[in-house]
């Protein structure tokens, strides 16, 4: 399973030039907001990095991230990094199945106890005896607890693992929850998005390989280097927002001219992710560039924020009935108040008419 080759050796075997490797290190440094002086240190660290053991648990999820990662057309540095890690358990990708697969997991855990990385994608069901998702006779929670116990750190990949995502969306029939809700005694790093950008996890892994620690996280447990700025703040359509030029529909003049998608429900202003800067498919595009507003997939409960096509400034409730009811009740009490006032005045009239003493 594990071998003794360093990352440097492995990359060179794959035909990556020194120049290419340094370029990757520079890109990693800049992505993680490290000063250029750190590039040689990163290079040296990565060069010598041993193959870490990774156990990948998939729970309530759609395998989107695995798909996104494995469908890259050309070999990228990211994919090479993934090649470098020792993926000791991943029930979609591994050849073994059944007892064999579970045995591999146990063996990896035993061998690398306290040192392996646990990557989780998918949410964990909690309702009804947690029957909604189980692997090899174990509920997701049992497996998560068992594996997390010996992990150096836990990486929650994808919004489902990080914040519950789609399974947790209202009405959350399986009682789904997320990793950091359950694992509190290990460092948990969230790499949300649906799915996350591959370079974000490779950058995070590079950081781990370089420094042996997790990168700096924001208040939602996301690496600040990638989730530090909102889509809106880095969006190339921002000038249109400032000028008040908006697409009103998906096929109007404004949409064709690439105007701001705020009115069409873009959640860019409240979504923190790297899409607008690193983009997808090797920097080709990202949702807004392709003409669709951001749906805010890297944010907790993004599914339940009032509709992807509802502008952010709109309220998330719609209760004309409620307002009508409140207004009607107000008017009724207003009538009652006026009647009360009149009877008070009638009382006063009598008193007013009396002769003064």
């Amino acid at each position: 399973m594990s071998d003794d080759k360093t990352l440097g050796e492995r990359l060179r075997e794959s035909g990556l030039s020194r120049r290419g490797f340094m370029k990757f290190c520079a890109a990693t440094a800049s992505m993680m907001a490290l000063p250029p002086s750190m590039i040689p240190a990163i290079a040296a660290a990565l060069e010598k990095a041993r193959r870490p053991s990774v156990i990948w648990l998939s729970f309530q999820e759609c395998t989107g991230y695995t798909e996104s990662l494995t469908r890259s057309h050309s070999p990228t540095i990211e994919s090479l990094i993934f090649d470098h890690i020792s993926l000791d358990y991943h029930h979609t990708l591994q050849a073994a199945a059944g007892d064999g697969a579970e045995a591999a997991r146990k063996a990896a855990m035993k061998e690398n106890w306290g040192k392996y990385l646990l990557v989780v994608d998918g949410a964990i069901p909690q309702k009804d005896g947690r029957v909604y998702s189980a692997i090899a006779g174990m509920t997701n929670l049992e497996m998560l607890k068992e594996v997390a116990e010996g992990a150096a750190a836990v990486v929650a990949v994808g919004t489902c693992a990080a914040y519950g995502g789609l399974p947790k969306a209202s009405p959350n029939p399986t009682g789904a929850t997320y990793v950091s809700d359950l694992i509190t005694d290990k460092p948990v790093l969230n790499v949300p998005s649906c799915p996350p950008i591959p370079v974000v996890i490779s950058g995070t892994l590079a950081h781990y390989l370089t420094f042996g620690t997790l990168p700096e996280l924001d208040h939602l447990g996301r690496p600040k280097a990638f989730y530090g700025q909102s889509i809106h703040d880095r969006c190339y359509r921002r000038p249109f927002y400032e000028r008040g030029q908006f697409a009103e529909t998906f096929d109007d003049e404004g949409a064709r001219k690439g105007w701001c998608l705020y009115k069409l429900g873009c959640k860019g202003p409240v979504t923190y992710n790297a899409c607008a800067t690193t983009k997808w498919n090797e920097g080709t595009s990202f949702p807004i560039q392709s003409g669709h507003g951001c749906i805010g997939c890297s944010e907790p409960d993004f599914w339940d924020k009032g509709g992807f096509y509802e502008a952010l400034s709109k309220g998330t409730f719609s209760s004309a009935e409620g307002i009508a009811l409140a207004a009607g009740a107000g008017a009724a009490i207003g009538v009652a108040a006026a009647m009360g006032a009149k009877s008070r005045q009638t009382e006063a009239d009598a008193k007013h008419k009396e002769d003064p003493a």
Partner: protein, 217 residues
């Protein structure tokens, strides 16, 4: 539920319920108050035209009051117009209103809105300083006058802070901004901010009263 979700969802709903409940209660209650039946012979029997006219003539003071009222009237207008521009012509606000009312119209560029917001805030501060400094204003002010200025200014301030991402991340500031608007909604029917509704019936009634007696109001 994040603060922003709370602000956009239940807090908004309840603040609107309170806004409509309180406003209707107060308006209906006042309009149905006991009326005085006047048996004297009117100079004008038909007072409608004068009443409607009075609703509009009171937008500007009479010339003889110019010296004393020009400055504060202009400040008042700066505040009210600035606020109207910010509330009614900032695109996200238009979307907010259109969701509630079904109406929609065009907005202005953001820098214009920010300028209007700054003018509004400056005017509010000027009004507040006047209230604090001027002996007359001190004598006639109560806690609610200060509260009303604060409650009006807060959404403008927090809105501008959210726009500029000052001191906090945008979602938090946006939530605070929306909550401050909801505070305004909640207080609106119960304090003097309700003059935004009452000016019409009150001016109308004064116009009718004066017109009946043959007086230009």
């Amino acid at each position: 539920m994040t603060l922003l979700d709370f602000a956009r969802g239940p807090a908004l709903a309840w603040s609107l319920y309170i806004l409509f409940f309180g406003s209707l209660l107060r308006l209906v209650g006042v309009l149905l108050a006991r009326k005085h039946v006047d048996l004297s012979q009117p100079r004008n029997a038909d007072t409608l035209g004068d009443s409607v006219r009075t609703v509009f003539t009171r937008f500007w003071f009479k010339p003889e009051f110019r010296a004393s009222t020009l400055f504060i009237t202009l400040i008042g207008y700066a505040m009210h117009i600035g606020l109207a521009v910010v509330v009614l012509l900032f695109v996200p606000h238009i979307l907010f209103i259109s969701k509630l009312s079904g109406l929609s119209w065009g907005g202005l560029p953001n820098d214009t809105i920010m300028l209007a917001g700054a003018i509004t805030l400056a005017a509010l501060v000027a009004m507040w300083v006047r209230r604090l400094q001027n002996p007359l204003m001190q004598a006639i002010s109560n806690w609610e006058d200060h509260l009303a200025l604060f409650i009006t200014g807060l959404p403008v301030l927090t809105g501008m802070m959210a726009y500029g991402h000052l001191f906090q991340d945008y979602p938090t500031l946006l939530a605070i901004h929306i909550l401050s608007v909801e505070l305004l909604f909640v207080w609106f029917p119960f304090g003097k901010l309700f003059h935004a509704v009452m000016w019409i019936p009150t001016r109308f009634k004064l116009g009718a009263h004066f017109s009946r007696r043959g007086v230009k109001a």
